[in-house]
Assembly symmetry: C2
Homo-oligomer: 360 residues x 2
């Protein structure tokens, strides 16, 4: 039997709040069983209980902790840190800090989630100022984890290596990689390509100097992501964010062209209708809700961000990721490897205090 | 009648050499008429003349200048600079330097083309160490020019503004933009997002301080490229290269999924056969050969790089871009705007000498 675990949920986060969060719990249980998994839902008790009653879930699976306070989707991170105490987002994270819950999932304000997580849980990755966001990217060969796609705009060699450590453990825990392979995103595959930061990280990982025992494969290019050349693609948050959004834009553009082509006249509509079952199966492979859920990595605790607009299936997948991470050896494996890094990079000066405007 | 012009061609460049270069000339004339356009083909005279004879082109349209020497596709740029003198690539560029030709097109070794162009033509953009490569990106709203997708790995504010100036003039000359709009690629649209370089460039362009008279629209995100939000997307060569290759990889992945779906069983094969005319039309919109041809911008002369594996249609399109640029006011417009930039950025120290290993 799987070990019992409590997952903390920000029931008020996202564009839809309690209806999608509770439906997400239901979807998760339908798809993954969820044996031994209980949920602690933070937010408006009346609204949450109404959804639970409709869903047929029982009180022993869904605990509810009331709060009136909510962090708005457009609230600035600094403001959320100052005024967010006691909100559903804050309380959901705090349950991880106290050890009551094994992980937290929120579809709320990303900046606020990141800032309050950092404040309450603190960073475990010493080179990072902010948690890294990992994207699960569908490829020819399964799922590739790409990080950082978030907030670390300029990443030095140490940060890139931390991404490698965390991405590898994430892929093993969530996407079943037995010994996940790792590449650093660059403009070419030769060792002398790119800027100083990627070259230094490449050199250290190639030499295996820190004793990290990672299956590092060198530089990869943009085309290698969808090709699935490696299981983990490491990049700074600026490049990663732009690569992810450019891919999303490209996928949307091609889908629109396809839709247009298949509805352009009666003949193509007929063809599309006949091929529809196969086209539907194809669409599932790149359906965002099957890969929804981006963990914030580098914290002393497991925090998973769901897309604000995710549906029940999407939120259910974010829960799945949180459970897989919490039940795996992710935290101990990452902790051990990050410790080895301290021998390579000097941390004699104390880490920056988590105050002020944390996100750009 | 259009003004007469001579286009210099490296007939030995690319994966195919003279057959595709001559077929490209033919394709260009078929699609665009090519009134007043003559070609100067550099390379093995016997091989070139054999192709010309087959093609039915006449000697007054295609001049041939013989050389035995060829720069190999895998030759290092520094080596090509030292030993490339007298090669088809070198001579093709030199014809632009002497003023004999209005532009040069080559499908040869990119690094060598860039290095020898820089050596012979010199940079006109003072902030750039290397020419910028511009990609013509198909979008929901036409073609968007994205630059740099090439060699300028780390771009400061001055370089980014030079990309804006050159991209705007390129779009107007080649893609018919009347007053092309410009955006800088970033991780968000708010002015405080991103790193120092993009924020400084954004500030200067917003204030219009240099009197550039550009239609600058602020920051854009990765999703905005395929959306066609602006006509010109400005970014450093590292991010641009990765965005372009990530988009290519995504397009290839989705095409593969589509092919797989439409051939998965008899029923979907039937549907695909019926919808085929519409699907073919769709494929044309994202056919790489319709957008082949990336000019190297920032040089004192017009140099267009064709993809090494381009077919006749693709090479013909690269010729079209070279002719459009050479016949437009691109060079004078860019020259005037770059001059205004000198008042903003200090160039008291002389530009770096174009020696040594020019490409990473």
């Amino acid at each position: 039997m799987s070990s019992p675990i409590l997952i903390s949920l920000d029931a008020m986060g996202g564009d839809h709040g309690p209806p999608v969060v509770v439906a997400g719990v239901l979807d998760y249980r339908k798809r993954h069983g969820g044996e031994g998994v209980r949920f602690l839902l933070h937010g408006d008790e009346t609204a949450i209980r109404a959804e639970i009653a409709k869903s047929g879930l029982t009180d022993d699976v869904c605990l509810v902790r009331h709060t009136d306070k909510v962090v708005a989707m457009d609230e600035k991170p600094a403001q959320a840190m100052r005024r967010g105490k006691g909100s559903s987002l804050w309380n959901a994270i705090e349950a991880v800090k106290t050890g009551e819950a094994g992980a937290v999932v929120s579809a709320g304000n990303t900046g606020a989630l990141m800032a309050i997580s950092r404040l309450l849980l603190r960073m475990s990755a010493h080179g990072l100022e902010r948690p890294a966001i990992v994207a699960s990217w569908p490829t020819h060969r399964g799922i590739t984890a790409v990080l950082d796609v978030g907030a670390n705009i300029e990443s030095d060699a140490e940060q890139l290596i931390e991404f490698a450590i965390m991405g590898e453990a994430f892929h093993a825990a969530v996407h079943g990689g037995v010994k996940p392979t790792i590449g650093i995103l660059n403009v070419g595959s030769e060792d002398m390509k790119g800027h100083e930061e990627v070259r230094e990280a490449n050199r250290i990982l190639r030499e295996g100097g820190a004793g990290l025992n990672l299956d590092y494969r060198g530089f990869v290019e943009g085309t290698d992501i969808a090709r699935g050349t490696v299981d983990v693609v490491v990049t700074d948050g600026f490049t990663g964010n732009i690569a992810l959004k450019t891919a999303e834009g490209t996928a949307r553009y091609i889908s629109a062209l396809l839709r247009e082509a298949l509805t352009s006249n009666l003949q193509s509509k007929l063809g599309a209708a006949i091929a529809m079952p196969a086209l539907k199966k194809m669409r599932e492979k790149i359906d965002p809700s099957t890969i929804n859920g981006g963990p914030l990595l580098g914290l002393n605790g497991i925090v998973v961000k769901s897309h604000g607009g995710a549906d029940a299936k999407g939120f259910g997948n974010a829960i799945r990721i949180a459970v897989d991470l919490a039940r795996s050896d992710y935290m101990t494996k990452v902790g051990a490897n990050l410790g080895k890094l301290d021998a390579v990079f000097d941390h004699s000066s104390p880490p920056a205090a988590p105050a002020g405007e944390p996100l750009q």
